[in-house]
Symmetry: C2
Subunit: 348 residues, 2 copies
């Protein structure tokens, strides 16, 4: 018996297409082992489309995306596109339109991977960041007064709702029950008292429902430091959209670099499809040369499988990556060679 | 011939009093060598005063502080005081009232000091962060709607003015001309388009007046990563109040920890006195035991001297710290033993 799921694929620009091809290669092998098939539709979004048509995310495409079971994205962006256009017109638009309120970013150092932190190893670096994805300073609420004059004022408003904060905090606690039972709230409650107050009160209220989960709080500045000095302190970190943006890049750096970091833009309520993608960009400088490492995309594929309830398949993909990383020497392999090796490991 | 300057001293709580005593010890020796004397007035501000009187910063004290040449602060805070009270009622209030628009934080790894970064040394980590200190998300502009209900909304507004951004950007470029001639703007222009636009335009305009200075831009998430992976990339970093808060803690971590980090809340226009302080807190757990390391306070004293135009004295204090750090073995010294050693080195 086999189950067929609809997968939207957005390879994007630069190395995006290359790494997505390997991700799909591994996905197919893993799916096949578990009676699962993916019906794939590819969407040409990103810099190429924008340059050709001026479109970032046409309504018709968005409507189709709403109907799939999952989305895999490579990377978008090219120097030919003005900064911000694809970020806001495509990436952030997808998060808002598909209500991706959980931006899930594992910070896990696999054995064999070098970390920039002296004296820290895989046993110290294994946590996940639950970054809020649909509000906070990313709401786009801001403006200018007297733009371009010496009297100019520019504002950005962070908008936080009880609804939005509670659902991400709940997700973090749920996740903790399946991990090491600890949740750390990161905010800046001593300065951002209004948003901070809402986050802290919500956190405390939800925490009361999870007596088995240990809680902790760090100001964002201290947390940034603890990511370096005490990464073992963290299990599940829950934080706002902008703090999460910064913290997850620090997280990527300590877990071996942005080239290995996977992420999910998740709608845990399952009212719309979730999207998985490597954290790295389109790297136009090395595009088309088979030099890109598809590992982060393959880890994103594992997250996709996990989200779809295929945790066995997800675990097999992650185990393949882990084994491959541990065995990597100094030999240089091409994008597809790494993909082949990972697919072969999953095939078993 | 001797010059006498007025110094306000706010020892504060916990280890604050202990480290300030050593800072003053070193200051006196350095001053004496350069025909300089400090007329000191001590102000009892912090947790003790708040608990005794409910006051954080009385108007009369603020008025007196306006009249001094410089301020040295130890650290304030105690678990007995609700979080946020001293931060907003004293520390931030001083920054706003005394118009400390430059929050200056050197990130310098001294020889002999351990960094958490594998493979990085003193030649890689030597830059300064010019953090804006009087606006941005710290403006305190925010509020609640329907507080405590499921429909609650909490906002925080980042307020940025052409006036405020230009003066800190100018300061950064001026500083760069006395260093390695490079300024990096850190912001999040692809998401915070209004504030980001003002910062970017201002930066570009001021940069045009400094053709000899190289410029660079990083999004705050990338910058956080580069602090770990490419600290050698930075010379002068200029950024907003909240990004600077986070980045300078990462900076402190990579330069040997918050226990060594010095900082200045500076009014470069000299319309009011500047304040210098170690970045660390009052550490109530080790207070009164002579265990605190006064080095960050002594480095803050060097920054104070430098700000007062006494760059020779400043350099002597920094050289003493540098020599002492390089010679530190595993021997444990008390707070006053370290202070004595530093004072002796300055005495020459
Ligand atoms: C590209 C950008 C809009 C995005 C963000 O700020 O969220 C990126 O940095 C990320 O973390 O996914
Ligand atoms: C204590 C707090 C208000 C302060 C800040 O956020 O600026 C501190 O973190 C700092 O960096 O000096």
């Amino acid at each position: 018996m086999s189950k067929t799921l609809k997968l939207a694929v957005i390879p994007g620009d630069g190395i995006g297409t290359e790494v997505v091809a390997e991700g799909l290669k591994v996905l197919d092998v893993a799916a096949g082992r578990h009676g699962l098939a993916f019906d794939r539709v590819e969407y040409d979004l990103g810099a190429r489309r924008y340059n050709a048509t001026g479109e970032t995310l046409p309504e018709s495409v968005l409507a189709e995306l709403r109907g799939v079971d999952g989305i895999l994205l490579g990377a978008v962006g090219d120097p030919s596109v003005p900064p911000g256009v694809l970020e806001r017109g495509l990436l952030l638009k997808l998060r808002f339109e598909l209500d991706h309120y959980l931006n899930l970013r594992p910070v896990k150092l696999f054995p064999g991977v070098a970390t920039p932190l002296a004296g820290k190893g895989p046993e110290d670096i294994d946590f996940v960041v639950c970054r809020e994805g649909t509000e906070g300073p990313y709401a786009g609420a801001g403006g200018w007064l007297r733009q371009g004059t010496p009297q100019e004022i520019a504002t950005e408003e962070s908008v936080n709702t009880a609804f939005g904060v509670e659902r991400i905090v709940r997700d973090a606690f749920e996740r903790a029950t399946k991990r090491a039972n600890k949740v750390t709230l990161v905010h800046k409650t001593n300065v951002l008292v209004h948003a901070g107050g809402l986050w802290q009160r919500t956190f405390d209220r939800v925490a009361a429902e999870y007596p088995a989960v240990t809680t902790d709080y760090c100001h964002v500045d201290a947390a940034s430091m603890f990511f370096l000095t005490q990464p073992e302190r963290f299990d599940v970190v829950v934080t706002d959209n902008l703090f999460g943006d910064i913290l997850t890049d620090i997280g990527a750096a300590i877990a071996g670099g942005i080239g290995l970091a996977a992420s999910g833009n998740v709608n845990p309520a399952r009212t719309s499809p979730s999207m998985f993608e490597p954290v790295h960009g389109s790297a136009p400088d090395i595009a088309g040369q088979g030099k890109a490492d598809p590992t982060a995309t393959v880890l994103s594929v594992a997250m996709l499988l996990d989200h779809l309830g295929e945790d066995k398949a997800a675990a097999e993909v992650e185990a393949a990556v882990s084994a491959d990383l541990a065995a990597r020497g100094s030999a240089v392999r091409s994008t597809s060679q790494i993909g082949d090796a990972l697919a072969a490991r999953v095939a078993g």
